[in-house]
């Protein structure tokens, strides 16, 4: 049985990519916390990753050994936040929830990194036989 590095690592790579994009959008929300009329945006991480996983599965079944052409989130995936309470100036970014999401997203990024590190050290062991 052959091991394809792409297949082994690709899902986590995409997870990191999406996490980075999401942190960029959440940073934008935090930056515009005082901007009148600003509408907070976010990515639905779960739905994006499940579509990525589906297309990776489809590639695997088709026998493609290299994982390419999985589309990254586009502006269609960028959703609008429904605030807990509408503020008078029309801003839908709320400091507490946005900060929590940003922190959680950063922690999830670290989790993905840890998984990736574990995979890499597992592959290393398989290669060196130690």
């Amino acid at each position: 049985m052959s091991i394809s590095l792409d297949q082994e690592l690709s899902l986590h790579g995409y997870a990191l990519e999406v996490r980075t994009l999401r942190s960029q959008i959440l940073a934008g929300n935090l930056a515009n916390i005082e901007t009148p009329g600003y509408q907070a945006r976010d990515l639905d991480y779960q739905s994006i990753m499940s579509s990525v996983a589906q297309s990776l599965d489809a590639q695997q079944q088709a026998g493609n050994s290299t994982a390419t052409a999985v589309p990254l989130p586009s502006s269609d995936d960028l959703l609008y936040r429904i605030p807990y309470q509408v503020s008078e100036d029309g801003n839908t970014a709320e400091l507490g929830p946005e900060q929590t999401r940003f922190t959680q997203n950063a922690m999830d990024f670290q989790t993905s990194l840890t998984f990736l590190n574990m995979k890499i050290s597992g592959l290393k062991e398989a290669i060196t036989g130690e």
């Binding site: 990191l16 980075t20 994009l21 942190s23 960029q24 959008i25 959440l26 940073a27 934008g28 929300n29 935090l30 930056a31 515009n32 916390i33 005082e34 901007t35 009148p36 600003y38 945006r41 990515l43 990254l72 989130p73 586009s74 502006s75 995936d77 960028l78 400091l95 900060q99 940003f102 922190t103 950063a106 990024f109 670290q110 990194l113 990736l116 590190n117 890499i120 050290s121 290393k124």
Partner: protein
């Protein structure tokens, strides 16, 4: 990778909040300034912020965060206080002086809000730093 964009976004937020603190400092410092006409009286300053959307790849179809831009600083147009102080050297011919229209309590609240927002930008920078750190040391056995 879009890490540099995040630094840019957090930087723009810090710049905006610094400007806000700047106006708060100016307003508080001039809360007791007086003048001899209504036009010369100190009017409280307030910054106007707007969001600038940016895309990660520049094609306009992909996702990106939003930086903060400062559209300008406006002077508060609410009425200034008019007091009768005929002995004041700055009093006009009718004996009135014109004080500022700074709302000290509102400025204090504004100051707290600005420094909170500034802190949250610093927190964003710290988090992104540790994300990038982790990515750089990927695959290195500890």
């Amino acid at each position: 990778m879009s890490f540099s964009d995040i630094y840019g976004i957090a930087g723009s937020a810090m710049q905006a909040q610094t400007l806000r603190l700047d106006t708060v400092a100016s307003n508080l410092a001039n809360a007791d300034s007086i003048a001899s006409s209504e036009a010369d009286a100190y009017h409280a300053l307030h910054p106007v912020f707007s969001a600038v959307y940016q895309s990660t790849l520049g094609s306009g179809d992909d996702v990106g965060g939003a930086q903060v831009a400062t559209d300008g600083v406006i002077a508060d147009s609410s009425a200034v206080q008019r007091r009768y102080e005929p002995n004041n050297p700055l009093a006009d011919s009718d004996g009135y002086i014109y004080a500022s229209n700074v709302d000290t309590v509102q400025e204090m609240a504004d100051m707290m809000s600005a420094s909170r927002s500034y802190e949250s930008s610093i927190e964003v920078l710290k988090r992104v730093n540790s994300m990038q750190d982790g990515l750089l040391s990927l695959g290195q056995t500890s």
